[in-house]
Symmetry: C3
Subunit: 133 residues, 3 copies
Amino acid sequence: MEIREINIKTNIREQIVDITHEVEELIKESKVINGYCIISIPHTTAGITINENADPAVKRDILNILDNLIPLYGDYEHIEGNSAAHVKAILTGFSQIILIENKTLKLGTWQGVYFCEYDGPRDRKVYVKIISD
Amino acid sequence: MEIREINIKTNIREQIVDITHEVEELIKESKVINGYCIISIPHTTAGITINENADPAVKRDILNILDNLIPLYGDYEHIEGNSAAHVKAILTGFSQIILIENKTLKLGTWQGVYFCEYDGPRDRKVYVKIISD
Amino acid sequence: MEIREINIKTNIREQIVDITHEVEELIKESKVINGYCIISIPHTTAGITINENADPAVKRDILNILDNLIPLYGDYEHIEGNSAAHVKAILTGFSQIILIENKTLKLGTWQGVYFCEYDGPRDRKVYVKIISD
């Protein structure tokens, strides 16, 4: 099936955006019953991950913990000044593969799909490819 | 092929469980010769990775190094008190994709598939989907 | 399609090697138009990731930031002395899945595919499996 796109506009430097609903909509449109989907991004200072969708404090803790580990300002060579964002993106990952069962993402009760902006605000996009059994 | 499940019961807060054998058994049952398998988990405070299956000290070092990086107690907002586990899980990853060749996982000599518990003890599960060429 | 191999000889302890061109060549040879490829490695002290292909300072910053986070020498039990490399590899990841569209990798303008050596110099290999729609 052809690759679909989700467009995201981030508003601040670091932001976690829940895109679970958008991915579920694409699966519904695709009419795929069982299979899996590949979610990837064409960026180097943002990531895709999965995490808790219930308490919004989790998102803030994630960004704060990563910021403590890899500070924005450091002894970095890259002149654009976003080396910390590059490393956070590597640690988060640039794609996720999620199983599809009975027309929905096979996620746990508390799992959501997160786009992680580490060098915003920017216009970003997410690719979704849905593969049927 | 339909999704299979591996059930895991962890005994302590942090624990690495080698599930290579269980995954290999599912591949044997599937009769798939060449292809790949997707291993994923429905949790937000546990991860799936690959690492050395020889010296058990490696597992302890992994857990200790991660614990030094992201301490259990910190200035976290999430009231459940497991924010460190959420971040460790993100850094580890929630799925692995492993090639299958000649009826076995195409792993290196020293590679094993690890389930990483960061917020146990709990009953956990692992999904395995095997895709044939 | 059968699994292909890319051989890499690293020269120093830590090194990031851009393998984008090698992967693109395999895709060209495969004649696949649309689909995706799975890139994986059989090692436990090296990783596969995606990152900026423009400024070489980014590679140095990545290695330096990871080295500050997880020092080579520490209170580690594993007698081989490469526990830091095992953890860096886990954080980086052992595989990448990349979409293929119109005979090329669907990467962003600034994205390259990186093999990350954390315990060299060594002879390493990368597996590439290309899956057609």
